[in-house]
């Protein structure tokens, strides 16, 4: 039971890292809520993000040195923790992006290849 949950989190985490790094690269320093909003905005309803899972992922990325954090004042002058991407993070983002492209094109090739035969095998 516990293991199942962990597996799902890991799958999500892989993409989450890409999404977070991309967001921070595009928008500059941002707090957690901002990152979550941005991911939701971009993905609309396709990605159902449990916002809470964002924070352990941010911690992990910070420990890995891809992002850094700093306490600052939000737009409404409230104390918030702002995350920004680091040089290592940019490198990581490039690699993640390339991995993702390669992966998605591979999947695409599978998905696009003779759908009828796949359907027959199922039937």
């Amino acid at each position: 039971m516990r293991n199942d949950r962990a597996d799902k989190a890991d799958v999500l985490q892989g993409t989450l890292i890409l999404l977070v790094l991309r967001t921070l690269e595009a928008l500059g320093p941002l707090h957690g809520y901002g990152i979550a909003r941005r991911i939701e905005q971009i993905s609309k309803d396709v990605l159902q993000l449990n916002q809470g899972t964002l924070y352990p992922a941010l911690l992990r990325m910070e420990q890995d040195g891809w992002i850094s954090s700093k306490w600052g004042a939000s737009e409404k002058n409230r104390k918030a923790k702002f995350y920004s991407i680091t040089a290592a993070g940019r490198k990581r983002l490039a690699k993640e992006t390339e991995d993702w492209r390669r992966m998605s094109s591979t999947i695409e090739r599978f998905v696009g290849f003779d759908p009828k035969r796949l359907a027959e095998e199922r039937g």
Binding site: A36, Q51, G52, Y55, K81
Partner: protein, 876 residues
Amino acid sequence: MSWATVVAARLRGLFEHKRLERELDDEVRFHLEMQIEDNRRTGMNPAEARYAAMRSFGGLEPMKETYRERRTFALLETTVQDLRYAVRILRKSPGFTMTAVAVLALAIGANTAMFSVLNAVLLRPLPYQSPEQLAMLWTEDPTQNFREGRSALGDIEQWRSQSRSFADMATFDAVSTFLTGADGVEQIVGASISPNLLPLLGVRPVLGRSFSTEEAEQRQRLVLIGYRFWQARFGGSHNALGATLVLNGSPCHIIGILPADFKIARLDADVWEPHTSRRAVRGAETWFVVGRLRPTVTFHQAQAEMSAVARRLNDQLPAAERNRAISVVPLSLYMVGPQSRLGLWMLGGTVFCVFLIAAANVTSLSLARSVARAREMAVRTALGASAGRIMRQLLTEGVLLASISGLAGTLLASGGVDLIRAFGPANLPRLNEVSLDLRVLGWAVAISLLAGILVGLSPAIAALRRDPHPSGEEGGRSVSGGAGTRRIRRALVVADFALAIVLLAGAGLLVRSWWYVNSIDPGFRPEGVLLMELSAPMTFSIPAKQHFYDRVLETIQAVPGVQNAGVIGELFIDNNREQVVTVERDNGTVSERLQFGREEVSAYFFKAIGTPLLRGRSFSIGDGPDTPPVTIINDAMARRSWPGHDPVGKRFKLGPRDSGQPWYTVVGVVADMRRQGPEREPFPQMFVSLAQSPPPRNMDLFIRTSSDDPMAMAGALRAAVHRVEKNAPVSEVALLEQQFGTYLAQRRFQTSLLIGFSIVALLMAAVGIYGLIQYSIATRTQEIGIRMAVGAEAGQIFRMILGEGLKLSLTGLMIGLLGALWLGQAGSSLLFGVTSRDPLTFIAVSLLLIAVAVAACCFPARRAMKIEPIVALRQE
């Protein structure tokens, strides 16, 4: 690239737990507030907005848990969790916890205290430079079992010139010393050392300097003082250097102060004087010899070389005297002799056995608890705890329990160390160095951990073996009570009894030895006898000194309560002496080397000390300086030199046939006195009259009193001596019984500790079997009920229960007896008068053990008898 930063971040997480937790809260709160505000903007009411925000955030606590786990090390976090849980569990059952902690703390405390003794006496290196190169050299005579004899300066000179194994050899001895101060003369401990001794040991004075060889040869009156003496007499002042002490009547200059706790081998002194290489100090013709091996030489090689030297030297001697040997013994082995070593290891092993028994009992207790906790474990397993997790939890509990015990035990040990230093055997060397140092604390930690693992592991194993489901269903009150657990507990009880019988047998053998030692006739009657050491003033001539002793004895005799008084050169001798003796027999004259003693005594000495005269007569007024020398010998010499003949009237002399010594005529034979303690066999001795021989430097005065409290007379006796001569040096007054008793100090220490420990072991074994039987009855109530319902009689039930207990204790007894027989062999040199297989002892302790086991099983068995079948069957 990242593991180091992760580790760093997580380490930080470990230490900044509170702050990071607050920050996480702040961050989450900010997130939710922002979300709520945005939600309100879309037109929700506050409650809706809040609910929606919470929903989109997801589970708050699981997120935090993941976050925390990631923030620091999961292992440490769970360990902390386990610890918290363990604390809660232990607090929930204070009865178990207190019992377990008390038992383990006592065991760990006793072990730590004993280890601190082993550490100080046996393990710590001696406080000299490269102590492993130091050796004692002895003159011995294997044919006469003469060991550890001192050596003459002439011999030592030969050894030095003929051997290559030793870098140097030095000599030393204790000399009786009287210090003249402002308030009269008092006795202090003096040592005479060769000037090369301190450099040989690598010891330098803390203040001032040592003496040079030239100064020693010129017989300059220089002296080094001990640290304690310096503190006591000079208050540690630097003015001590250059000050003058009047020692034995002549002034000596203090040139240096020796380091605190400085000792040479077993010799500890207040003042240290140099002696020359040529002339020995009067009264001490032979010396202790210590040598330093050259760096690459082993003791074995040195011994081989010295044996060759001894053979060469023997060749120059008359045939009858060619039995001398030289033995090389590592200094550390001499400091603490084989007997003391064995005794200490035995005691160390004993307390370790007690520790094992204690751990076994606590393990048994916690196993019994683990059955009751089976339900808890089942629930935890059902909730997803892995086997490893549960095992870790139980081990954590065990280690926590043991750590508390270890802490308490160490506190106990520090008290125990004080007790040992105060009441331990005074003649055990280096006992004053006993302390809790790092090694001892390490030992305490090690055995605490061992206890923790022992106590935690078996419940863990039992928990893993158990199928969680049935006990979960039965609510932890399973009828069998966990067969695996019971098996382990039975094995523990068997082990308890096996260890207990080993200790009991050892204690029994030592007690028997104690009886034998105490039934030994010392050759004198020490009850009510006082002794003091005194010296005639150094300035007196020989006749004046003899006259001084006569007058002292007369005056003392006149003191009310005094029955008899006598003096002897020295009663108790701590070192063996040897002598070539030429004896006239009916069939010719024979010279031989003997272990031999010669003492000057006053006329009524034997009467005062209570040594019976076996043949012939005592010294009389007729034996004067102008009559032929007469002597009284002891029975050992009579048996040795004139076997089967009456020695009275026979003659002998000291030295070889052609020596210039006078012939002594034997006029009497006295019983053997045990002058080296009750355990050492008497050896040939001669006594000469004080009237015919110059008195030694100082003498032992013995006073037989008729008083019930002889010590009350001490002041009167000292005053009596001072009436004769105002400045006569006199030592403190002591009881002969007490003085003689110090020879048994180590035996008393060993015996009483072993008795104590074996009683503890026996009680623990009894408690262990009692607990097990009690528990077994509790879990078998139904079975017993059924048995009684179908017609079993109370007596049968009683026998069944008793039989169960006896089977276990007898199994333990058998195993333990085998162990005791085997160990007894190794420890047989500690025994006196009994063999290590003494049947009486073994039968007695076995019966004792069985009696205790029966008694321990009787109480629960009687209760089992009274079980009402109906009530029993109605249970559950």
